[in-house]
Each structure stands twice: as structure tokens, then as C-alpha cells.
């Protein structure tokens, strides 16, 4: 009897250790999903690829691109696409300008986040130069013109339809404003 109990206890401990390892591995996996997701998106051609290409411009399909812009909640600025609609060619280059306007009397740090529709466009369009690569610091009331330069890959399919490249401008402090607001409301309620 005791030998059985002892045997069991050892076996149980071994099993539990293995299961615990599995738990830790899965916890690691959940965090690993963050970089994995980015890699996966790049493979699927969903996320922007920032590597420059040097394809020689070749005349190809007419490709229409719509440029769109948005400002996230609470960022005191305006962004306007100066070339809202442009035509390009497969294998060719395209430049588009945006106007950023700081509405505030204080300096403003922002970052523009690009997004494509349809998603598959990312595979055929690359940004050679983009104001979204870096954070942008605007002086009070500054109006600045910024540009994006796109290269269309030569295998751009004619069936893709118009591509929309949309930018959303976020404040550099991200979601902090709201968190601060929450913290304040808690502090207030506590008093």
C-alpha cells in the first residue's frame, strides 16, 4: 500500500512538473504572439514593409491611389491630403503630399500610422519615403507639408482596383491622456 502511494506520489510530481512547464510555455506563447503576429502579417502581406526597392520604372497598368487621413481623438491638429487621388503605373513611383497643421499653441509630437485597403495592396506597394517612418514634432501653430513616396511593384495586378492609403495621426503620448483622465477621476472620487 505505502509503496503504491509512494510510487504514485513520485509519478504525480513528475506529471505536475510537466504540466507546469506546459503552462509556462503557453504563457510565453501568448506574449510571443505579439512579434509572431507582426511576422505573420508581413508574410501575409498585411503589414507595411519598409524596405526600399530600386526597381527601374517600367510603364504598366494605370493604378489609382486614394490618400486618406484621420486624426485620433483628442489630438489638436488637422491633416489634409493635398493629392487626394493620384494615378500611377506598375513599376513606377508616386509622390503624394499631406499638410499637417498644429492647432495648438504648444509644440505637438505626433506619429502617423499607415493602413491600406484592400489589405492585399501592401504586397504590391512599398513606401520608399514616408513621413510616417518617424515621429513628427510640430511647433505651435505650425503648418508643415510632408510627403510619401510609393513604388509599385512590377507584378502589380490590374485587378486590384483603387488602393486606399490611409493615415491616422496619433499623439505621441498614445492612450495616456485617457488613462490620466481615469486616474484623476479616481483620485477625485476618493477625496
Amino acid at each position: 500500500m505505502t509503496s503504491l502511494a509512494l510510487q504514485r506520489q513520485q509519478g504525480n510530481r513528475r506529471t505536475a512538473r510537466r504540466l507546469l512547464l506546459a503552462v509556462l510555455a503557453m504563457l510565453g506563447f501568448s506574449f510571443a504572439m505579439v512579434p509572431f503576429y507582426n511576422v505573420f502579417c508581413r508574410v501575409m502581406g498585411i503589414q507595411q514593409d519598409r524596405t526600399a526597392v530600386a526597381d527601374a520604372p517600367v510603364a504598366g497598368w494605370q493604378q489609382q491611389v486614394l490618400f486618406d487621413s484621420n486624426v485620433a481623438a483628442g489630438v489638436p491638429m488637422q491633416i489634409r491630403a493635398l493629392d487626394a487621388r493620384r494615378e500611377g503605373h506598375a513599376g513606377g513611383l508616386m509622390k503624394a503630399r499631406f499638410e499637417l497643421r498644429n492647432l495648438a499653441d504648444t509644440p505637438l509630437g505626433v506619429r502617423a500610422v499607415p493602413s491600406y485597403a484592400p489589405l492585399s495592396a501592401v504586397r504590391y506597394v512599398e513606401k520608399v519615403q514616408c513621413f510616417c517612418f518617424d515621429a513628427i514634432h510640430l511647433a505651435p501653430r505650425e503648418v508643415r507639408e510632408v510627403t510619401v513616396v510609393l513604388v509599385f511593384k512590377s507584378d502589380l495586378p490590374a485587378t486590384l482596383g483603387p488602393i486606399t492609403l490611409s493615415y491616422t495621426v496619433f499623439g505621441l503620448d498614445g492612450g495616456k491622456q485617457q488613462t490620466t483622465a481615469t486616474a484623476q477621476s479616481i483620485a477625485k472620487a476618493a477625496t
Partner: protein, 567 residues
């Protein structure tokens, strides 16, 4: 009312003798000196039966609390316009209803059942790690407290839905942090509970009971526990990332910092879809115990049942995208998730066919557990079929985020998980309490629940088809009638559960008389070979090979030899 025990219980007189022959519990019944009395018995509990009991009571109280929230929701939705709550409180009600029912009621109830029954069914003296078992239970009440307290902090409870999608969940107040910590605690509890269950099942089975000869409930428990070990840490990771996004300036889910709010949905549903089966598989196990007992026939297709359970568990890791058909996947991803989801219907169908074949050519009687098992079978099939409709991505585009989805998952979770839990309670209540419950009241509970459930949730299919979004506190006028019907049904369903509570307490206090050791003549698994009520310690010595074999032969898992047939 004063029907005799014999009239109520179908046990064949011969079985009394059978039980007495092998009654291992008999001498253990005096073994009470190990159990501390009073509150210490419960706080320091290491006995699997005590812990199982606590789990079940905890789950039932959470069920009543979550049910109260549900009634709060249905009261507000009885007519258009805001009558009772502010919209933000309504959101907190839907969120807490979901979180409490999933993590507080259904999962602990099944863990409680596993705690109580697995050692009895596989012939083990207790769970593998008795002290850890105590811990995994006692993490739950603080978690529940956190959820309740969250309602009273400034800004109120978490109001982002039980799915906690950012950025909304990042935006909300401190109640959200309480919700996140509660989920951490519940996840930790589930992980420890699962380690215990897997270890117990793998290492502590009776001699002669190989894996492929375990009772079906043990199998589904094993697979469920494995699923939890795999996905509970993922959920913990997801909500931790949410927490750091909220307070420590990380940008996992914030586009401004290079994150992606959709990533949360991926991580969440990587947990969330297996979670659906974590709640459904034990129900399958319970039904696979009850149906053969009352059909007096072995479970049909045992091996294919095991394969189906495993197939469902594996497939459940590949279909999470079907919760996200509306986020705008590329066509390839949309197609992949659609095909995988449709595929999952195959093993689920196999299970339903197996259950019907188990009933086929049986000699059925319809005691309350059997009624709940059949109710489960009918309604779960309907839920599975609405699931099939939802699996078609183009149709899901219309139905995603509408009441159709609400109807679908309540058919699988209430009629699926909850009905099987009721069935399990009535099935094993005589073993737990030593008393027979009132069959008349049990049947009333069943029919009342069955009818009220359908009144509540069937009209929601129509609401969803017509385009009523879920999680709205107020609705357009053309949705009025069905909402009224659903609200009336919900209150009726709620009252039926008071009846259940009464019946259980009545049974504990003596019920309609003491139960024999084997109240169901078709029951063949090992838990019926211990005394009734089950003594504090059981199977301190493993059941004999002969006893195990006898059960396995009755379950059709082993062929009987000539000698045994003569006996």
C-alpha cells in the same frame, strides 16, 4: 407527496445485493476522525468531496448572481426606452453576466463535479494534490469578490463585454482592473485545478482501467483539463498585456505605438474558442454517463466518442478566426477559418449520432437526469445547427454581433453546459447526500426550465436575423414583441432555478427517503460501488481487478469470459 422511495427509484432489488457485495465504503464510513469539524473542515479542506461540494455551492451562488444580472438585462429590454438603468450600467450588467457565468458558474461547477466524481469513478482515494486543490478553490471567492466590488468603484464595473476588446477596455475606469485581476485569479485556479485533474486521471486509475476503458466523463475531463492548461495562460497573457497598456504605457494594442487592437482579439479568441469546448466537453461527458444508464445499454461507439472529443479539442485551436469574420480579414483567412469551422461540425455530429444510437433499442426510463440529458441533446443540436449557419462566413457577416449569436451561444451554454449540470446533479445527488430527491419536483424543474428556456432564447434567433445588435440597452420598435417574450421567458427561467435550489436542500435534509447504494439500475461505473452517501474517504484501497472488470464488461469495454457469464 409522500411517495415511497421504492416507487421513485427504479433500482432493481437485485442491485441492492450487488452493491452490498462490493460495498467498499462500508468500513470507511466510520472514518470521520480525519475530518476537522466546523469551519476548519471547509477552509482547510483537502478532501476531494468537500472541495467538490464547495465548488458546486460556489458555482450555484455565482449562477444565481449572474442570473440576477441577466434578469436586470432582460428587465431593461422588456420594452424600448431606458426604464431602469443608465446605458453604462447596462454594459456592466452584460459584461459581469458573461464573466460570472463563464468563469464563476459553469467552469467551477464542472471542476466541482470532476473533483467529486473523478476519484470515485476511476477508483482513486483522492485528487493527486490535495492541498493544491484547496488553493484552487479558495482563489475563487476572492475573484468573485473583486468582480462584485468593481461595481462600486468610481466609473463602475468593467463595461467592455466579457471579451474585453481594446481600445474600449483601455478607456474604461478602475472597474476594469478589478475585472482583470479577477480573471487572473480564476485563470490561476483553473490551471491548478487542471493540473490536479490531469495528474489524477493519468496516474491514479484503478488497476485494469486503461485510458481507453475510463468512463467517458473522465475522458472529457482529461481533455478539458489539457485544453485549460493550454489556453488559460494565454488568457492571462492577453489581460496582462491589457493591464500594461492601461497603466504602464505599453502599446500592444494601440495603433499609435505600433500595436494593433485586432491582435488582442486574436490572442483572446485563441483562448476563447477552446474555452467554448472547455465548457461543452464536460457536458458531453456527463451526458455520455447518463444516457447509457437510463437506456440500460452501453455507450455506443466509445472509441469514436474519444476520437471525436480529441478531434474537437484539436480543431478548436484552429477556428478562432470565426469570431472575427467582421474585422476585415483578407479573403484567404476568411476562407480558412470558414472551412475549419465547418469541419468541426463533423466530430460534433458523430457525438450526437452516437448518443442517439445509445438510446436506440434501449429500455429507457425517464427520471430527471435522463430528461435533462435528452433536453441537452435536443437543444444542443439546435445550438449546433445555428452554429453551422454562423460558420458560413458570408452569412456570419449578417449575423455577427446580433442577437442570433446570443441565441446560438445560449443554446450551447445554457441548454448544453447548464442542463448537463442539472442532469449531473440529479444523477449523483443520491450518492452525495445519501437521500433520494423528489422526482416530481425534479420533473417540474425540468419541464419548467425547458419551456422557459425556449421562450427566452428561441425568439432571439428572429431578432438577430432581423438585425438587432447585441449589447444594446435599448432597441428600435420593430424588435419589441420578441424582446417582451424573451424577457418573460427569462424571469420564468429564473424562478425555475429557485425550485432547483429548494429540491437540493430538501434532498440534503432527507428528501423522499434514503437512497440505495445504486439508485439507478443501469449505472455501471465505479462510483456506484461505494456506499451511499459516499463516505468521507473512499477507495483508500483501489477497487479489485474483478470489480473493475465487472463494470467494464457492463459498459461493453471488455468481453466477458465464459466463467464470468456463469457467475
Amino acid at each position: 407527496m409522500t411517495t415511497t422511495t421504492d416507487a421513485l427509484n427504479p433500482a432493481h432489488p437485485i442491485d441492492h445485493g450487488h452493491g452490498a457485495d462490493h460495498g467498499h465504503g462500508g468500513h470507511d464510513a466510520h472514518d470521520h476522525h480525519h475530518a476537522p469539524a466546523g469551519w476548519r473542515r471547509w477552509v482547510y479542506a483537502t478532501n476531494h468531496k468537500d472541495i467538490g461540494t464547495m465548488y458546486l455551492w460556489f458555482a450555484f451562488s455565482m449562477f444565481l448572481l449572474g442570473g440576477t444580472f441577466a434578469l436586470g438585462i432582460r428587465a431593461e429590454l422588456f420594452s424600448p426606452g431606458m426604464q431602469f438603468w443608465q446605458p453604462e450600467f447596462f454594459n456592466q450588467l452584460t459584461t459581469l453576466h458573461g464573466v460570472i457565468m463563464v468563469f464563476g458558474a459553469i467552469m467551477p461547477a464542472f471542476t466541482g463535479l470532476m473533483n467529486w466524481m473523478i476519484p470515485l469513478m476511476i477508483g482513486a482515494p483522492d485528487m493527486a494534490f490535495a492541498r493544491m486543490n484547496n488553493w484552487s478553490f479558495w482563489l475563487l471567492p476572492p475573484a468573485a469578490m473583486l468582480l462584485i466590488i468593481s461595481l462600486f468603484v468610481p466609473g463602475g464595473g468593467p463595461g467592455a463585454g466579457w471579451t474585453f476588446y481594446p481600445p474600449l477596455s483601455v478607456q474604461l475606469g478602475a472597474g476594469m482592473d478589478f475585472g482583470i485581476f479577477a480573471i487572473h485569479l480564476m485563470g490561476l485556479s483553473s490551471i491548478m485545478g487542471s493540473i490536479n485533474i490531469v495528474t489524477t486521471i493519468l496516474n491514479m486509475r484503478a488497476p485494469g482501467m486503461t485510458l481507453l476503458k475510463m468512463p467517458m466523463f473522465a475522458w472529457t475531463s482529461l481533455v478539458t483539463a489539457y485544453l485549460l492548461i493550454a489556453v488559460a495562460p494565454v488568457l492571462a497573457g492577453a489581460v496582462t498585456m491589457l493591464l500594461t497598456d492601461r497603466h504602464f504605457g505599453t502599446h500592444f494594442f494601440n495603433a499609435a505605438g505600433g500595436g494593433d487592437p485586432i491582435l488582442f482579439q486574436h490572442v483572446f479568441w485563441f483562448f476563447g474558442h477552446p474555452e467554448v469546448y472547455i465548457m461543452a466537453l464536460p457536458a458531453f461527458g456527463v451526458v455520455s454517463q447518463i444516457l447509457p444508464t437510463f437506456s440500460r445499454k452501453p455507450l455506443f461507439g466509445y472509441v469514436s466518442m474519444v476520437y471525436a472529443v480529441c478531434a474537437i479539442a484539436i480543431l478548436s485551436f484552429m477556428v478562432w478566426g470565426h469570431h472575427m469574420f467582421a474585422v476585415g480579414f483578407p479573403a484567404t483567412a476568411q476562407l480558412f477559418y470558414m472551412f475549419m469551422t465547418m469541419l468541426i461540425a463533423v466530430p460534433t455530429g458523430v457525438k450526437v449520432f452516437n448518443w442517439i444510437s445509445t438510446m436506440w433499442q434501449g429500455s429507457m426510463t425517464f427520471e430527471t437526469p435522463m430528461l435533462f440529458a435528452i433536453g441537452f441533446l435536443c437543444l444542443f443540436t439546435i445550438g449546433g445547427m445555428s452554429g453551422l449557419v454562423l460558420s458560413l462566413a458570408p452569412v456570419d457577416i449578417q449575423l455577427h454581433g446580433t442577437y442570433y449569436v446570443v441565441a446560438h451561444f445560449h443554446y450551447v451554454l445554457v441548454a448544453g453546459a447548464l442542463f448537463s449540470l442539472f442532469g449531473a446533479t440529479y444523477y449523483w445527488l443520491p450518492k452525495w447526500t445519501g437521500n433520494m430527491y423528489s422526482e416530481r419536483m425534479g420533473k417540474l424543474h425540468f419541464w419548467w426550465s425547458m419551456i422557459a428556456f425556449n421562450i427566452t432564447f428561441f425568439p432571439m434567433h428572429f431578432l438577430g436575423l432581423a438585425g438587432m445588435p447585441r449589447r444594446i440597452p435599448d432597441y428600435a420598435l420593430q424588435f419589441t414583441t420578441f424582446n417582451e417574450v424573451a424577457s418573460v421567458g427569462a424571469f420564468l427561467f429564473g424562478f425555475a432555478q429557485i425550485l432547483f435550489l429548494y429540491n437540493v436542500i430538501h434532498t440534503i435534509r432527507g428528501g423522499v427517503g434514503p437512497s440505495p447504494q445504486r439508485p439507478w439500475d443501469g449505472a455501471t461505473t465505479l462510483e456506484w460501488d461505494v456506499a451511499c452517501p459516499a463516505p468521507h474517504h473512499t477507495w483508500t484501497e483501489p477497487p479489485s481487478l474483478a470489480l473493475v472488470r465487472e463494470g467494464l464488461i457492463a459498459q461493453g469495454l471488455e468481453e466477458s469470459t465464459h466463467v464470468e457469464e456463469l457467475k
